[in-house]
């Protein structure tokens, strides 16, 4: 068992336990904290795949930005002892059964499917390569989606202010 496998097992354990806890814990603030741990472990997986830029983006935007947004909105909208109301047993069992069925089907398909031969090529992805392909207009270059997503973000900022302002 090499060091990569050990790191993967640790990250997988964090992701598994914390994602279960994030959706079952009663208090919303704890749920957001467990989501933060899941996002950290996901960034760890990106680092393990040698995509450090992706891991940095994950840490900055998800763990840094979105979680702070969640925490602020939880503090704004939920009173102190706000707990999730207990769910009806029947609904919980139906949800659990359908989820487990879907999980079983998906894992069966993944394990059975023959992918084209998969080799892990280690080696860091250069930031220079990312920059050139993000800023070009030729084939396999992504200037247009980059601009589209900047317009989308602008529209979301304007829409968020419009919706949330006081009338």
């Amino acid at each position: 068992m090499d060091i990569q496998t050990i790191i993967f097992i640790i990250l997988a354990a964090i992701i598994g336990v914390c994602s279960i806890l994030a959706i079952t814990t009663k208090r919303i603030l704890r749920s957001a904290t467990f989501l933060l741990f899941v996002l950290f472990a996901t960034a760890g997986i990106y680092f393990q795949l040698n995509y450090s830029f992706l891991g940095a983006v994950q840490l900055l935007i998800y763990a840094g930005g979105i979680t702070i947004l969640y925490v602020f909105s939880i503090l704004l909208t939920s009173s102190d002892g706000d707990k999730a109301e207990p769910l009806k047993n029947k609904k919980m069992i139906i949800g659990l059964l359908s989820t487990l069925a879907g999980l079983a089907v998906c894992i069966y398909v993944i394990v059975k499917h023959k992918f084209t031969e998969s080799v892990f090529q280690s080696g860091e992805l250069e930031i220079r390569t990312i920059g050139y392909s993000l800023m070009g207009t030729e084939k396999y270059q992504y200037l247009l989606p980059f601009e589209v997503i900047s317009i989308l973000l602008l529209a979301c900022i304007v829409g968020g202010i419009m919706i949330a302002r006081k009338r």
């Binding site: 795949l49 995509y51 939920s78 769910l87 989820t99 998969s118 919706i163």
Partner: protein, 103 residues
Amino acid sequence: MVQMEWYLVLSTFMMFAGIYGFFTRRNLLTMLISIELILNSVDINFAVFNRFLFPEQLEGVFFTIFAIGVSAAETAVAIAIIINIYRNMKNIQVRNLDKIKEE
């Protein structure tokens, strides 16, 4: 070396944890957290496919970056809507939401 299937099984587990949360939670913010789990698991899949199956190309990385941007935008708008709902109704439980129609 870790096989590709293990990453895929991990992300599938995370996705169905999110789906279960979306089914069973009754609070708008926790439902949004579940959606966040689902999006995050899909991002892992993009990166893993890119690294293991097509290591010379970069589509998976860029799709992941754009998906992270889209989910940030989605979260911002959704939280604005949730704060607006809270301002009108003083709580954010899903079962109260049909009262919005009557106002």
